[in-house]
Structures are given as C-alpha cells and as structure tokens.
Point group: C2
Chain length 450, copies 2
Amino acid sequence: MQFQLTEVFIEQIEQLISEDNRTALTELLQEFHFADVAELLEELNTEDATYLVKLLDSEITSEALMELDDDSRERILDNLSPSEIADELEEMDTDDAADIIAELDDDIQKQVIDHIEDEEHAADIVDLLRYDEDTAGGLMAKELVRVKETWTVAGCVREMRRQAENVTRVHSIYVTDKQGKLKGRLSLKDLLTAPEKSHISDIYIPKVDYVNVHTEGEEVARIMQKYDLEAIPVVDDNGILVGRVTIDDIVDFIKEEAEKDYQMAAGISEDVEADDSIWQLTRARLPWLILALIGGFVSVSVLGTFSGAMADHAALFFFVPLIAAMAGNVGVQSSAIVLQGLANDSLKGSLFKRLIKEVLLSLLNGLILSIILVVGGMFLLGLDLLFGVTIAISLISVIVTAALIGTFVPIMLDKRGIDPAMATGPFITTSNDICGILIYFTIAKLILGF
Amino acid sequence: MQFQLTEVFIEQIEQLISEDNRTALTELLQEFHFADVAELLEELNTEDATYLVKLLDSEITSEALMELDDDSRERILDNLSPSEIADELEEMDTDDAADIIAELDDDIQKQVIDHIEDEEHAADIVDLLRYDEDTAGGLMAKELVRVKETWTVAGCVREMRRQAENVTRVHSIYVTDKQGKLKGRLSLKDLLTAPEKSHISDIYIPKVDYVNVHTEGEEVARIMQKYDLEAIPVVDDNGILVGRVTIDDIVDFIKEEAEKDYQMAAGISEDVEADDSIWQLTRARLPWLILALIGGFVSVSVLGTFSGAMADHAALFFFVPLIAAMAGNVGVQSSAIVLQGLANDSLKGSLFKRLIKEVLLSLLNGLILSIILVVGGMFLLGLDLLFGVTIAISLISVIVTAALIGTFVPIMLDKRGIDPAMATGPFITTSNDICGILIYFTIAKLILGF
C-alpha cells in the first residue's frame, strides 16, 4: 500500500511537464500525499520542481516544501516570487512558516510578509521570528485551541469547532483565565463526556505541564519524552499562553540532535548528507582532519626525541600504531558512554566515584589485553620477556590514561557549558594518540634504559 | 514548575519507609506524576522501591514501572508475587503488559496471566506475545476506537464514549466493515462537526496509512515519520484491524536505534549505560578492543618487514602514527556519511558514481593536507624535499584508499543484508591503519629505495 517512486513514473512526470500538460499533471498528482510529492520534487531538476509547486494546490505543496531538505527547498523558493511564497505560507502552520521566512534574505522576508493576506497569520509569524530557533519559542506554533475557564461546555464546543478549523490536530484544549494566563487543560474526550451545562472551571484538569518561550529545545524534548506528552503549551514570562510545541517537531529535533552527535563523533563538523556537493563535504570534513594532522606533527616530534632507542630497541617503534590504536579506541569508548549518560541525564554520583570506576574497568580490560599481548608477542613474534613486560605495563598505563581522559574531558566541558560532544572522535583520538605514545616511550625508557 | 528530585526528599522518603508510615507516604506521593515516581524508584534500593510499588495505586506504579530501565524493573518484579504483578498489568496498555510478561521467566509468565482478572485483557496480552518485538505486531497495542461503516454519527458517539474509556489517547477512530477489515479513519474533529444523523460511510476518510503485523519496527518508524502520523493502524494478513502503534512507542524506538548505532560506532558491542556494572561494561567494550589488538599485531608485523629502512630513513617511522591517524579519521568520516545515508534511505545513484565522488573528495582533502604537511614538515621539522614529497604522495594515497574503504564496505555489507553499522569505529579504524601503513611504506620504498 506504500507509494514507491519509480524511474518510469519520474520520466512520465518529466514528459508531461515538458509538454506543459497541466490537466494531466493535476489529475495525476492531486490525490498524492504531500510526503510523496516531496519525494518527487527531490528527484526533479529545480526548473521542473518549481513548475510543479506553482501548478499544484498550495495546500499540498506547502506541506511538501516543509518535507524537503534545506537545499532543495532553497533552490525552489529562489524561483518563486514573494507573492507566490506568501501563498505557500498562507497554508502553513505558523511555526513552519516562520522557519521558511527565517531562511530567506532580509529584503525578501519583508516583501513576503506584506503579501500574506491573513493579517493575523502574518502577525503570528512575525512574532515567532523573535525567538531563537532552538528554544520552545522557536519550535512552537501559534495554532491551538483555547477556552476560558468561565465558559460552559456547550459554548466551549461551539467555540472549539470554530477554532479547530485552523488547527491540524487537537491534542489538548488549553484553559486560560480572562487575562490569557494558562490555568489547565482538557482533553477532547473529557469534553465529549461532560454534561453540556457544566462550566469549564468544574471539569478542567488544573495540573498541566508547560514550558517557557525561552526553554531550550533539548529541555522541551526531555520533558515531552519523560512525561509522554504529544503537545506542550508554551507561556511567556507573564504566564500568558502563547503557543504549543507538538511531538512531530520534537521527533525531528531528536533525530537531528542524534545525527549531529553522531557526525561530531565521526569528525564531521557541519550537518551534511551524502548527496551534498564535494565542496560542502570538504568543508565539513577538513577541519577535524587538519586538527588530526597537527596532532600527527606533535607525535612525530615526540617520536623524534626518542630516536636514540632505535639502535638497540627497534621493535619499540613497531608497536607504536598498536599503542596509539588502543589509546584511541579506549578513549572513544569511555567518552561515548559518558556522552550518552550526559545526554540522557542519567549520570549520577560524583565525578571522583566515576573516575575510580573507570580506572577499575580499564585496569581489568588492560590486564586481559596485556596478557593476550605478551603471550601472543612471545609466541608469534618471538619477543623476549623483558620487552614483553615493558609493552604490557605500557599498554595498561596507556589504557587507564585514555579511559580517564575520555571520561574526564566531556564531564569538564559539560560543567563549563561547552557541548561535550566535541570531546569525542578525532579530538579524543588525537590527544590520546599523543599521550599514549609519550607514556609508552617514557615507561620503556625507565625499564629498558636508553 | 518541573519536579526536581533532591537528596533531602529521597532521605525523607527512606525515613518514612523505615517507619512504615503508609499514610504519610500515600499522601505525599499520590499526586505525583508517574514519571517522577519512576525517577524516585530508581534512586531507592530494591527493597524500598518494592515497598512503594506495593503501597501506591497500581494506576500510577504500572506506568512508573514502564519508565524504569530494564534492570531496575527486573529487580522490583523479582520481589512481587504473580498476583501482584498481575495487578500492575491490569492497569497497563496491552503493549506494555506484553513487554513486561516477555521479560519474565516462562513458568512465572503463565501464573501471572492466570491472575489477570479481565479475561479480554489477558487474551489480548497473550495474543501480542506471538509477535517478534521489533515488528509492528510487537510494538502495537490492542486498545483503539473502532466503528463500523454502517453506523450513524449519533450511534458512533455513544459507542465511542464506551470504548474510549480504555484508550488513553484517541488519535483516530478507525472504520471497519462488518468483518472487521480496515476501511478508513475519522478524526474526533470530523465526528464533532458532522450532522448527527449522517452515516459513518458518508463522512469517513477512505485513505488510511496502515502497516502489517509483520512490518519491521524500523519501517513503521520510517512511515510514521515520513507521513507525520501520531498513530498507525496495524492489520493482519487478511486485512483485519488488530491494533495500532502510537508515536510515543516509536520515539523510544528511534532513540534506542540511534543510541545503538552511536555505541557501535564507538566500539561498544552491547547496549550499556554508564551506571551498569564493571563486568557488564567490560563485556561490552572488550570484544572490539581485542579486534583492535589483533589489528595492532598485524601492523607490528608489517612494520617489521620494513625494518631495513630504519638505518637510512629513521624519520619514516616517526610518521607512522600520523599516517595511521589520518587513515582512521578519513575512513570513519566516509563510513559515517554512508551509514547515515543508508539509515535515512537517502542514498541515491550508483555505487560507481559514489566511489568516483569519494575519490574526488578525498583527493581534494588529501591535496590540501599534503601541502600543509610538506610546508610544515620542511619548515618546522627540517625535512628534505624528496622525503617531504614521499610523505605527501603517501598521505594522498592513504586518504583516498581510506575513503574508498569507508564508503565501499558499509554499502557492501548492507547489500548482503548485514548491519552496515558494523563497518565503522574500531573495525574501519583498524583495517585502515593496516592498509595505510602498508601503502605508506610501499610508496616510500619505491621513491627512496631501501
């Protein structure tokens, strides 16, 4: 039952566009779900995509535009006039419309807003532009159903029917006092089952979760997940109900955050996709590589200072990549666990206790790995015992240090208000490479003496 | 307005529990949100937590139990009798109840089910146990509101009020034919605004997204996200409506999947949290470290075969960690972008085109990095030009190879039906380390001749 976009179908659409066959196109596409129209738009060239956006009903294309990735949307919007963009925004919820406006150039923004016919809608959009996009204010929509606590159920149902026309989904009905201050909520179910003559003040639920316009998006996501909410009302600093955030915006937010963290861990510094241009991908990937290169320079220098050992203990140098790899891997493991703990707010107990635990854990890992290393090294590579012990002690020390760095650095960054996700991937690997090599040769020097 | 769990509060609760002061505890906690009760239970020892679960109303504790992590929940359930567990399940939605039952030992499962008084509820739970937990059948709940197409609006509202009592949230009303086959849907809003005497068959929306009981959870998540659905009906192989999946289950699913991928990329092979035991954490972290250690052995051997170069070109060995680090970082970057493309189903075009793009991209990155390396190496480290050129050519070759491996391996694994997330983190780093060192020394040998 799922729609599947085929090559044949795309060619058929392209053919119809080149023939300017508006009737056939409208007939073919009018029953489509907006998400499918969006998929189709992604596959067409900008000119054809723009043609379809102009042709089809704004009710569908406005939703489809929201589903496109930023680049495709920008390319299409560049080909639309301010009044055509305004037509699309007219059909959008205020939060989506505000997101689109924010992507436009300043001079076009004003023209587009002036072209929006519904003045209340335009005013709501302008109002939303004031908020930072990662706050509840930036995530919320103005569309919601609100009733006053003094109304009767019958009056409320009448009023609700009127308001609900502009609201795609009614999750909750919010109850306010005369001044517009949020007092509680009511579900559609409650309203359906209440006697018609009772007052809202008798039946509403005075306990309601809410957030302030300035609450960070991450915190909104946390609250909505913790309390399993599908929508949460947003109030301003005076407690006045100004909007609501719905779970679908939060799902996108959670996904984006997870992808950003994943990319950060992989050493990619901008939000890119596989189909972005080579130039964009280079810009996203080069910075961390340059950092790693600089780290590489440092390790070259460190190794250079121990070059005296080469004559008698050449094998020491063969183990450098092994030591560096273990340091890097252990560091990334430790930092990943701490980062997820921080993200889920599940990191409890003192930093000291956590570091002790990490020491014990890495000692255990290090011991097992060292035994494998020594036994393997002596039997497979024919190392002598003293050399084997040197490598083993170094490996344990390097693993413990790497685990401590991987645990300590993200916690410290987080305490100082810096995004702890910085402290993983290339950053942790590079610093642990250098520390690891330094520790390794220092211990070797002490034991073997060179 | 948010609840904040304080040390003082926890101590107060522990004190009241030790005094067996049931009245005070009930009074204090009865107004609590279940998510907050869950937080409290996590902080108490198993005995105290069990005490509270037994004391408080099942309506709250059943929901709180669902919020706990698996270990804490298991510890508490171990201390409850089958009939006490049944009391909790009685209050849960069928999907949650089935998840809990599935966690219990086989012999206890039967006893618990026998103790559930509501026979229909028990039968529904048993029915759900048939499905694999990662399919739509495993994710769905039996609770939903269904109406027949032949009913009138008035009759429908009556019937709906009755059914809605068991359904926490009414997202959509599903319309079926007499045999129970899914025909379409209706929103509460539509029902509120329709004339009382019209028939459901006149007003329902015949287009409805649905999934089969056997559809994979990942696919359900994809569809619900793509079409912005808050609930999706589930049908069996005969098209009979059997349940619905709601967005809150999917949010958890998406989060878990993202965390699993992130941990895999960080070289952690089991789903662990920072607060798990040292033994669990070791078991999750050791396998990939052993793999990296074996990879390290290989690189030791590779370096050993080039030991002849040490006399004349010692500096070659100093650059080993730099080359290995660049190979690892580039490989992880490439694989991360491909993996996200695969996960989002946004990877289009042929494998050949993608590899060509990756070659161009990595050539560009490699060229820039090589220039920095040669200039920096000559000025800072005083390398001679021939040596600098050797390192530069090696670096470019290593980066291009690493990028190709990082792109090719996950795509190949995915085509063969193996989880492509395997091909990142330690696996990619280790194989790229070895390849990188091999390429580096081979090129150096060709240019410098040793």
